[in-house]
């Protein structure tokens, strides 16, 4: 093969040439894949919307605010499940974020690299443990402990939140650590040169710089907590009522779908469960939207990095 030294690669290729070289092909294929994801999401929403027509017509918006879930009488309201999902996820985040962020700061900033790498490996292994295992641990270890500590039944909203917190912790630690490690060294050096202590440089410079990644990790964790099914249903008590105490049993959206879907014999019951799925989908979209806004607003106020 000879290359023209003057015109070389800058010579515009014919369409066929570009096609053969792969540019067009690669573009078309990757665009199809990217479009496929959009299409899939669209189809998902469409299907959920379509299949929940019965309950949407019958109950309308009241579906979201009604407390009764009675498959025999054909009364369906999502409020107890919405409450259970939001309460367990919020409590889980309240426990896991400080723990996870603290661990990430230690691993990224303070620990010797060898220990940091080893611990990170172990933490990432935790993220790969199937959720039913966490559920079993919850049932056999955590439930008796909670009962001994004063929860009347052992199972309940708080127990589910603790199990969720343990499950989402690895996400927060490992992604936040990556974010902290990617902060340029100059940022730290500049802070130290201005007379900051190690902690001041970490807390006031490095963590704010990495906040995008940290917030990202928190919302990934939240997404997992909202959708977690198996582990939650094993320890939440599956009681579709709203109790004032977080030690009392509750129920979550994902858990009721998994529990009742296979034996839902009436069309209305099935439609109610599918509408719950739709609600969960929009809840996730809504919370992700809030997260985006949060990031945008802090970026505008703070320094001009991503």
């Amino acid at each position: 093969m000879t290359i023209d030294p003057v015109r070389g690669a800058s010579r515009p290729r014919s369409f066929l040439g570009r096609l053969l070289a792969g540019d067009q092909v690669a573009r078309a294929i990757t665009a199809t894949f990217a479009g496929g994801i959009l299409l899939l999401t669209g189809l998902l929403v469409f299907e959920l919307f379509q299949s929940s027509a019965l309950t949407r017509d019958k109950f309308g918006w009241a579906f979201l605010f009604t407390r009764i879930w009675d498959p025999v009488a054909g009364q369906f309201g999502a409020l107890p499940f919405l409450y259970g999902t939001l309460a367990t996820s919020a409590l889980a985040l309240a426990m896991a974020v400080p723990l996870g962020l603290g661990a990430a700061i230690f691993l990224a900033e303070l620990a010797p690299p060898r220990i940091s790498d080893a611990l990170t490996f172990v933490i990432e292994l935790l993220a790969a443990v199937p959720s039913v295992i966490y559920g079993l641990l919850g049932v056999f270890v955590l439930v008796p402990i909670m009962r001994a500590l004063g929860a009347p039944y052992g199972v309940g909203v708080l127990t589910a939140a603790v199990v969720l917190a343990v499950m989402i912790l690895p996400f927060i630690v490992s992604i936040s650590r990556e974010a902290l490690l990617s902060v340029p060294r100059e940022q730290r050096e500049a802070a130290l040169a201005l007379g900051a202590t190690r902690w001041e440089s970490t807390w006031q410079v490095v963590v704010p710089f990495a906040r995008l990644g940290i917030v990202g990790s928190v919302f990934l964790a939240l997404a997992r907590a909202l959708g977690e099914t198996m582990a939650v249903t094993m320890v939440i008590g599956n009681d579709p009522r709203i109790h004032a105490s977080i030690l009392a049993p509750g129920y979550s959206i994902a858990a009721v779908i998994a529990n009742e879907f296979t034996e839902a014999t009436s069309d209305l019951h099935l439609s109610g469960l599918i509408e719950l799925g739709l609600v969960l989908f929009f809840l996730t979209v809504l919370l992700n939207g809030v997260a985006r806004l949060l990031i945008l607003s802090t970026t505008r106020r703070g320094t001009q990095h991503p």
Binding site: V72, Q75, T233, E260
Partner: protein, 332 residues
Amino acid sequence: MRLALCLFALLVPLSAQTLVNGAGATFPYPIYSKWFDEYHKLHPDAQINYQSIGSGGGIRQLQAGTVDFGATDQPMNEEQLGKSSIKPLHFPTVMGAVVATYNLPGVEAELNFTPEALAGIFLGKIKKWNDPLLVKANPGVPLPANDILVVHRSDGSGTTYIWTDYLSKTSPEWKTQVGSGTSVNWPTGLGAKGNEGVAGMVKQSQYSLGYVELIYAIQNKMAYGRVRNAAGQFIQPDLASVTAAAAGAAADMPADFRVSITNAPGKGAYPISSFTWLLIPSQIMDATKKLILTDFLRWMLGPGQKMAEPLSYAPLPKSVVAAELKAVAAIQ
């Protein structure tokens, strides 16, 4: 290459088989898989596949025509039958029972439950173990003054249907307030997933009471109580008393076998028993499939019934078998 040839050689005879697909109830899955396996050994050219996706799913798939037959723990209602283009026939296959299991430290004796006590406990009205209704049915048993922790199934299930069907028949208040179904709006208690979930919760929590399938309670050596039947006797649940319940109900068996045998009349009948049904289309277009299904039903009602007891299912009484054999002949 050689491997591919071997695979090919394996696939060719398989393709000559007739495949019959079914889906539905999970409760009879162990006996169904045993039956379909044994039947395949007798008739290597017929292969029956069964997916235990739940009764609701079985009915829907049969209505949609994606399976050749269904299976359910709860007979189809008029509305569901109306939606089926080809009317499905119900064939009782075996029977199961549901028992009240409890964890009561310090009590060795087997407890007696009246229907009123069970309904009261599950309605949340009887709150303590030493409630007068319980004490009266269990003379001499030192019942503690502790709260009863009620455990029920959280997943939709045929077991729940049998349990709530029984409570609806014996307690008017249960019938109007809760009703019967595979999932109901429980007035009280904790939900646990599956028989194993309820059993685990009962074992872990002192002073608890739940309900599980008889098979499950036998296999796991759990404590379970006697229940007072329609004839006024406290009956120990076992395979014989379950078959007795079906025999008691057989007298007024409707022609389509859609009957609930909870609270059945007759001495020695355990009141919380139920059939489980195969759903076979009344018209089968494919001649080979029709032959296989009808032949299987006859075999299941004959030698197949002997396989039930070792797996802790109660076999059908003779009168029901005779009636079903007549119904098999009606499949077109």
